[in-house]
Symmetry: D2
């Protein structure tokens, strides 16, 4: 394949933001987490993404978290930073912060809360692209912003050099495959990063042409995702499938929280943080309001899955 | 009826935030707008709501707008302030700002972007209620946050004194009627404010027991909404209906923007601001990115509607 | 007001379809129900609507139910009949059946299951309109078909004589008000029926210009809805509001089913049928699969509401 | 892998239903289509699915189409038949028809139009399973029925022997992967068919453990899908990816219809039928109302894609 390897490839976990019980970023835990990730061989870090509780953090805490991640990464791997706000002027402010704190790329979603349509979405990305020298990745996450970025829009933004790639959390692997093929056909030679956020189908998405993954579960088992990535890029799909199946079973930690009293965010971030606490990386499984930390019974179920997976 | 008049009654327009062409709050225009509203007899002002472009403004601009509104209102009418952010910790920051700047009540929505369920939504409102001495109004706006506040939740929050009322932009007048009746039956004597955000059915919602309205169109024709309100409270429903029909026709200014290149936010806020510019209240119809200001053709169509309505 | 009274005005309850325990239409119960409705003074009957379980019935049962309703109504009031199928060719078949069995008008929804857009929706209604001499009412029920009929489309269809009116179960009273006003302004003199399906805001919708209502709860308390209608048309809005409040409280029978094991259809139709059984009109509260009949505890709670409402 | 090959494996295209210009099934074209499919080596046929316009066809036309498909297949490959109706009693009628006409399995969706929840959905599938001796496949197609079948529900139905498998058109490949793994872990030895309906990610879904595919595009290029399937089962993932990429490009025929005047169903079925007309298999590209047949310009664009793909 003559397509060059995009700038941001491989395993780029969306770093969770450890919190102190009384509030504020738990810097020591965050440093341990980043060091553990680097030791595992991850290829990049995604700061201030959904798993990083970015929309739950005050700007001060966002800055603190990004600062620690960039400093601890120490240039060994690129740090891409979420600039996730409902509208363009507010994204600009986060872009300025990311630039100031040394991020290597910006990740931005479509507008949210604001009632917008295709023209406003396009104007949003183009304005952000013009506002920074950093590469811009479009974050496609309809479950949060309630709009799917269309393949047509993404191809156009890529062709015009507005975006350097995509972080796909759309769950729409059909559109993802079509996007990858159209960029290859219509923007030949493009350095287009295509990171999948779906940690249980990384093998299939790599087969479809993804350049890497942004697995929330990669906070918990970065080695597994690095092995999975290496199997994919070396064409060992049987090994990739086996590793993916193992990780998919590990992903069942998100089923541990009581479904009657928890939803989405709490179940995902809460499970990742609790697993990291059990693994000794985080000092606490504290999460931001309005989420609640997982309780003892839920923590026990997560411990069981970790034991079964051989991580504990 | 023995139910007391709630604290926040009558016409409480969601003040638009005039912007300078180069960015930033247009203070002179905002002062003119507030003065015009007071002269028309409005009963309160809602700063930093959806019509106020709150999710488009930087925190600095939000503070500036709220400061000007409070100062210009000068205590003549209460100012309720939106504290609209995706999650609880960020709402806390806006609550602090509203308190500091002299708002008389807080308006907060359900969380957005974050994937939450009923338990998280309830925890969110309870935490906000505990965090401030100011009265808290729940802002029910599923078109923006993608979740409808359930009647059960609202009745419970009212019974527990967490919320002092609701600002209903749900469009679900069935739920609104049921809510009003259940609060009356289950929280007898409650000082429960029920403001409808639907400017074209204020008469029907007042008949259903609303205490007032938050009409975006009230920026443009506050006198009309004051007349409508007075007709309703005096039981002159025939006059109310006629005034409502007139205002509903005026509301057609939101159909002026080209539907092929504008959506929701742009059409509403853009039309209100353009009408206010034509009426000499605002110096410009500038809107925040990613919206675009209405063009000449669109402005012309708005002028036609204003002329037909006798406002120009 | 110079607008003529539309053909289908007043209270037009969507007749439930009583079922035998072993399956099939319970003709004796259906006859009793229709007779009770006529005695109460309803102004029409809506056969084979959502409350009539039309999408749960085989074609044979649909025909049987419509036949009994038409025959029992005996020409005293018009019978409008649902022709509710996913697509045009299948609606045609139900239109033929309705014509054959003596219905006075057809009620059809937008297509469902099929993935269609505005052009297909318009083509659908125009094709149905051409296929029958009977008046056609557009049934706007996005909660079932997942698409809201746009005000523009409805005004155009009215102007072209394709539809004779609307049965609005959209819950979007804002659009309903705009529709009524635009038809009045743009199709002057039109004999346009506007029936609201929202039984708890009939007063407000009549104030907005509705010609009548299609209250599911009107199966249970037709006298109440007739009184409500009469208060509205005579301009006695205070009496209308009081009657509406009473009926809104009665509507709480739909809260009786256990929310953990029932949803939408089961709660509504199940509650109406159970109330009618308790009132001695129906022999059983049997409902179609996959719904389940309400159990003893649920039936007891409905009995309590009926007693409180003075109906038992 | 010790998991046995499920009953329904391989390429099982959802047969389109050719129509005469004046209405009714075009039997000669349907026979040609089925014969072409058999000659290409498909492993089964799915009659009366979404691509087969099942919700557009009268019961008489449905019966005619199924009869022709079964007869032409002549037992060479199994024929699975859609029994797609909004509710259980109506599905029963289609199950009876499928049994009578010789189908080898039933495919049923969740209820639609009816407002139901998880309990009703489960009761629906269990009732259908009890009503027939034929294997039952659950058809997961939220884009049409607006509800996603939960992984928990599907695992339970599989464990209890209610369903023999799934036809997945959910687009949610994350859930698909989790389902496959959970069935393998929790229902060991199950003969569980897992067919993906997403023609552009068959390679990834086969890697994830699918037993085969139901590609609408397989009507147009069955040989391609048979080659793709064989590459997957033989572990030649590089060849599979290349074939999948080729087919994904061919799938662009669905982009040929004018997006301003066509939507979903029209674009997919319309494109497949037009391509088959150009390939000489169908006599016409007629589609059911409210769809419209593709016009000359659209047909020309489809011809271009077919030429580029080497099919013309």
């Amino acid at each position: 394949m003559t397509t060059p390897t995009p700038r941001f490839s491989g395993v780029v976990p969306p770093t969770v933001t450890p919190l102190l019980e009384g509030g504020g970023v738990d810097v020591a835990s965050l440093e341990r987490l980043v060091e553990q990730q680097l030791a595992a061989g991850v290829h990049g870090l995604f700061a201030l993404g959904s798993s990083g509780e970015t929309v739950f953090l005050t700007d001060a805490d966002r800055d603190r978290a990004l600062e620690v991640i960039v400093k601890t990464a120490g240039g060994q791997v690129p740090v891409i930073a979420g600039a996730i706000e409902p509208t363009t002027p507010r994204v600009f402010e986060r872009v300025r912060a990311a630039e100031r704190l040394g991020a290597d790329a910006i990740v931005a979603t479509a507008p949210f809360y604001a009632i917008v349509g295709p023209h406003e979405v396009e104007r949003h990305f183009r304005a952000i692209g013009e506002a920074t020298e950093l590469p811009l990745l479009a974050y496609d996450i309809p479950v949060c912003v309630k709009v799917k970025l269309s393949v047509d829009l993404l191809v156009n933004l890529a062709a015009d050099g507005v975006i350097a790639g995509i972080k796909d959390s759309s769950g729409d692997d059909v559109a993802f495959r079509q996007l990858l093929l159209r960029v290859r056909d219509e923007v030949p030679g493009a350095d287009f990063t295509a990171l999948t956020g779906h940690e249980v189908v990384v093998d299939g998405m790599m087969l479809a042409g993804a350049s890497g993954s942004v697995p929330g579960l990669g906070n918990v088992d970065p080695e597994g995702y690095v092995r999975l990535h290496e199997a994919c890029v070396s064409g060992n799909w049987t090994a990739a499938r086996a590793e993916q199946d193992r990780l998919t079973r590990l992903f069942r930690i998100v089923d541990a929280p009581d479904p009657a009293t928890t939803t989405g965010a709490t179940r995902g971030v809460g499970a990742f943080k609790t697993a990291l606490m059990l693994l000794g990386v985080l000092s606490s499984n504290a999460v931001s309001l309005p989420m609640r930390p997982l309780n003892d019974a839920e923590t026990g179920r997560i411990r069981d899955v970790l034991v079964e997976a051989g991580l504990l």
